[in-house]
Point group: C2
Chain length 337, copies 2
Amino acid sequence: MAGGDTRGALAGRLSDVGELGFLDSVISELGGHPDLLVGPGDDCAVIRAGDATWLVTTDAQVEGTHFLPGWLKPRQLGRKAFLVGASDIAAMGGAPRFCFVTLAAPSQMLARDAVELQRGVAQAAAECGAVVAGGNVSRSTELNISVTVVGSAPDHPMLRSGAKEGDLLYVTGSLGDAALGTRLLLKGEPAGGVPGRRFREPEPRLKAGSLLANREIASAAIDVSDGLLNDLCHVCAASNVGARVESERLPASAAVRRAGRDLALSGGEDYELLFSVPARSKGRLQSLVGGLGCKVTLIGECLPAERGVLVVCEDGVERPADLKPFRHFGSGSRRHK
Amino acid sequence: MAGGDTRGALAGRLSDVGELGFLDSVISELGGHPDLLVGPGDDCAVIRAGDATWLVTTDAQVEGTHFLPGWLKPRQLGRKAFLVGASDIAAMGGAPRFCFVTLAAPSQMLARDAVELQRGVAQAAAECGAVVAGGNVSRSTELNISVTVVGSAPDHPMLRSGAKEGDLLYVTGSLGDAALGTRLLLKGEPAGGVPGRRFREPEPRLKAGSLLANREIASAAIDVSDGLLNDLCHVCAASNVGARVESERLPASAAVRRAGRDLALSGGEDYELLFSVPARSKGRLQSLVGGLGCKVTLIGECLPAERGVLVVCEDGVERPADLKPFRHFGSGSRRHK
């Protein structure tokens, strides 16, 4: 709580400082608590509650920032608002149990649309084993739905900080489709098919996350929301390792491969799990693959920290990762949980 | 989840249906969970977590709805965003432990103001024994800060539903000042003194709530956020009782008495506790008064449900309560927790 406003890092506007700079500054000031086992900076907070351990995460969907009018039907938006939070729970290996919905909506919104939105939250929650336990509604000029998801934690939640040099890097599912869907929507194209669906409907990897955590296979994990490279850098920074990723190995649909592999590297909103596995556990992972509910792909490995984050490009040349802050079509969102 | 959109109650816009009509509809569709001991419709959700019981509540402060630019400095706004949630925890007799901050802010907001806002949350949380455990930041056109507060529950959380015919009705502190402060701010007056302070800085009655719950003195409780009469009606509806309140007994500052007792009856944003006490426990309450951290005032009693909610006016005549939906200066906010 020391006053540090005169630091150059905090001069200017939020857009100058960037969300990450802002959040780093905020997080650096926060105190801890003996029952706060993992605080801001990972996918979820990990909280001790008596003999239980819980995960808590919060995310928002703001009109104009995360989506434009017409991109999502109200029920789809409600579903997505829950599912992005469930993806954070998946990244730590937990199971969603409760959620809380804070809705700010224009007074001219149709009541049936607002109800549909809430139904979407409740429906997606039920599909993931959770219930809506509370919430709040306010008037506003722009639609803003934020969902806090509370989940039960595994015995050893997967953190961003556990990766070690030599660990293998894997990703679930497929990358880049949601970003391609966003690109199509921005062009006014109908964004049907896989890209549109992947933008509208994240698939939190709850089964995979739970198995990876409970079998203690993954040494670190994160959900890929800001683009693979950005999220890999979060893991590397938290774990104090470097990494090498082979672009050609990244799992991508035919549509993404046609549109360009950058979408898989940096597209964002994939809501897949990126996780590291000690080389000795590779066989145990392979024996589980059929039960994860999704495919997993080996995409690279962890290096000493001083190597930084490297990408083996399609031309076979290894280059330092070209990082761009993730933006929801020009605006942005950042988590500090 | 039955489709009920064709019901007349949901025709039209949110402004036609009203927040309460909307929330009633949403809540009626929600399912339960064995570990969700109290779901939407009370001040907090009550959740079982292993051998512990937790309270969770969420509230938002939206620019243009809850405040106008210039009414609150960033740190004050952050404090208020936390304190209104802590007031819900107080109403059930709990103790705040963790909070999660979802901030949507315009990109042109000064970074130091955004940091001050977060500091306000953290500072108020620390004063109440809680820590910031996570959050999220997004861009938006209007400032919207929502805070989810997680608290530990007493053995018997106070609910809205426990009042019985014949119980005495009490309120903590003083009513109407925050509404007077809002009125002065709307007129462009400097709103210094008590009214301004009471608008800017809710005082969650944590000590009083904790004692009332742990000593099992109160049969029901609610925090007075929407105006005394509205919140009394929530208790009466949940408890299936009526009530009589004596207007002249309502605790009010000299400024509120000058401005009109309606402010104390219906003003809103008081963040005091309204609670019911079985007549046999009156003496036990009086023996505790010195330790509650605030005064308490006997304002009326519970009646049979068919009597409805009555106000004994200053002219000595008993009239049915004149209920107006609470509006933050013409806009509104409603909770469904």
